[in-house]
């Protein structure tokens, strides 16, 4: 199988199922409707790509937590600042990149919410849930950009 560009076509790699990939960038203001529209579009793409309810639950939860972090802790609810959401939904994996216009944060300074003394503290569980429900979560310095990857259960890694 060749991956050379198809000279008859528009340069798309031969055999690459690009029509099966949902890829979209959303520039979100602090308006909750914006975020809700983006989430709906992503959820629709997940359904169309045959992701099971458990996978959709995991991705939706992680996306919600990451967006809340970006708006609230990153942009500090500043209406002049934006959050950029890039989604890529393929057959085997979902990649979500989120960046905010804040100063970032020190990941090591986030306390473990499951420690006995922290159980009654009402906040600080978002990152933990993102890590638990996604296959990979990587914060890029200074911490205002995160990449989350979800691999369909049973899909090959790498």
């Amino acid at each position: 199988m060749s991956s050379a560009p198809d000279r008859r076509g528009n340069g798309r790699a031969r055999g690459a199922p690009s029509k099966d990939v949902f890829q979209k960038r959303f520039i979100l203001a602090g308006d909750e409707r914006d975020a809700a529209d983006a989430q709906r579009a992503l959820l629709r793409a997940l359904e169309e790509h045959g992701f099971e309810p458990a996978s959709r639950f995991a991705i939706r939860l992680a996306l919600e937590e990451a967006l809340i972090n970006a708006f609230k802790h990153g942009n500090r609810n500043d209406p002049a600042k934006r959050v950029t959401l890039d989604c890529r939904v393929g057959r085997e994996a979902v990649v979500i990149d989120i960046s905010d216009e804040g100063e970032g944060f020190d990941l090591d300074a986030v306390p473990d919410p499951t420690e006995e003394e922290n159980l009654q503290i009402p906040s600080g569980r978002g990152i933990m849930l993102m890590r638990s429900f996604m296959s990979e979560v990587d914060f890029h310095p200074p911490g205002n950009r995160v990449r989350m990857v979800y691999r369909r259960p049973g899909a090959a890694t790498g």
């Binding site: 809340i68 159980l119 009654q120 009402p122 569980r125 849930l129």
Partner: protein, 119 residues
Amino acid sequence: MTSAASRLRVAEEAGVTRIEFVDRNILDEANIQQIGEEINRIIDAEPQPRILISFDNVDHLSSAALGTLITINNKIRSKDGQLRLANIDKQIYEVFVITKLNKLFQIHETVDQALTSFT
């Protein structure tokens, strides 16, 4: 005063206030804040609140909703009251387990089991 419709269904049953959510998704921050305020008013009205929150129909919740539940639990405990959670969907229960909040809350499979657990 807010004129927003209630986000809760509330019923009294054998000395217990039973609360259900109107929403299937408890994600939206404004909704979560309203839910917290409504439950706080219920707690304020009882000298020793006995509250059962049933998660019928709830498909999703966020860490902000967990935070509100923790605040509610702390307030009920400060009044020597009791809080029980019941009917939690399997995936949402996993969220409680991951965060170890299943240790903090008394969670029952069914409303009937939760009702009989009040002392």
